[in-house]
Amino acid sequence: MQPFDAIVVEHGQVVMRVCRALLGPVEADDAWSETFLAALRAYPDLRPGSNVRGWLVTIAHNKAIDQIRARLRVPVPAGELPERLSGGEPGPEPADSELQSALGALPPKQRGAVVYRYLADLPYAEVAALLECSQAAARRSAADGIARLRRHYGKEPS
């Protein structure tokens, strides 16, 4: 079995990008740490041959949902309740949060589909399982999300 450290080295980057895409740069650090701590706990029981990246992204997905739920329990003025998966607020953002503003504008399902399909490189079957929808719906959400991002960022496929 691979030492867990090798798992962190190989997948730390992609899990961080997923966490940032789901939660924004500030909360992503905690989600990353909680994801890898939970993974470390469960790692000895992971079945050999498992898709480690898919496994980690699933844990990150659940941690992100936990954080969003926790955040929503914090009382905020009704008008400011975040309607998107990420609660990123409008206004000046740190320089490295282009992703946050780019993906933050997408509806939750599209954002999830884009992140899990294109950032985490998961097959549509796993994307669909994470988003609790059909594969066809996951595929459509990813395509819609990409199209929307391309309209915003003016890049067409070459």
Partner: protein
């Protein structure tokens, strides 16, 4: 809800590149900080079964690995550190993380040893990688003082089986904690060095260092 145009043929590779460009990489310093924090949290939660770090030394880069019990492995570069970590993962636990805290004290003592200022290692050791007679041999090795050598025959006798000279030799040759468990102080009756995990040059260097009382004329591996 208006649907996006469906005119463009799907191009997953270009789409992946597009999202990749849009999101940007996470810088190494941020990841290193998170890794260090993870190791600390793991230690607090009793999930850090094997902590390791590497260090430079006159006998080349060393890998130091410790369990909560103590130092469990010292590995030379010629053993391939990545392979050693896989062995530890299989033999002890896959919960292996790079983390200085548990092994920094050992590293400091090894530095002092090579600088000539330390003759005795004061660190807890975990001998779980050796069983039975081999373990008895290693336990005895801890009693051989700095600068003193002993024959494989004498070691076999002290470990409780005078006939097991060959087994004493292989216990030394497979010592998981070289340097700190001083298998380099065991030599053949004819005075030649015998096998060493770090190679004959490393064994020669350590014996020269100790024979000079910690002040070798030519530091480093030499020839």
């Amino acid at each position: 809800m208006n649907s996006p145009p469906r005119g463009t043929p799907p191009n997953p590779r270009a789409d992946r590149q597009f999202v990749d460009d849009l999101t940007g990489a996470v810088d190494d310093a941020a990841l290193a900080r998170l890794r260090a924090r993870l190791a600390e949290q793991a230690d607090t939660d009793d999930l850090l079964d094997v902590a390791y770090r590497t260090m430079d030394s006159p006998v080349g880069p060393l890998l130091l690995a410790a369990t909560p019990t103590g130092l469990v492995r010292v590995a030379f570069e010629c053993e391939n550190h990545d392979e050693v970590l896989v062995e530890l993962s299989t033999a002890i636990s896959p919960r292996v993380l790079r983390s200085s805290r548990r092994v920094d004290d050992v590293a400091r003592q090894i530095d002092e040893y090579f600088a000539g200022g330390r003759r005795l290692f004061e660190v807890p050791v975990d001998l779980q990688l050796s069983k039975g007679f081999r373990r008895a041999v290693l336990t005895h090795l801890l009693e051989i003082p700095y600068g003193v050598t002993e024959s494989y025959t004498a070691v076999a006798r002290s470990a409780g089986n005078p006939k097991a000279v060959r087994a004493a030799g292989s216990a030394c040759a497979t010592n998981p904690i070289p340097l700190v468990v001083p298998c380099h102080r065991v030599v053949r009756t004819d005075g030649t060095y015998g096998q060493y995990r770090g190679g004959p040059a490393a064994k020669h260097m350590l014996l020269t260092l100790e024979a000079s009382g910690g002040h070798p004329r030519t530091p480093g591996l030499g020839r």
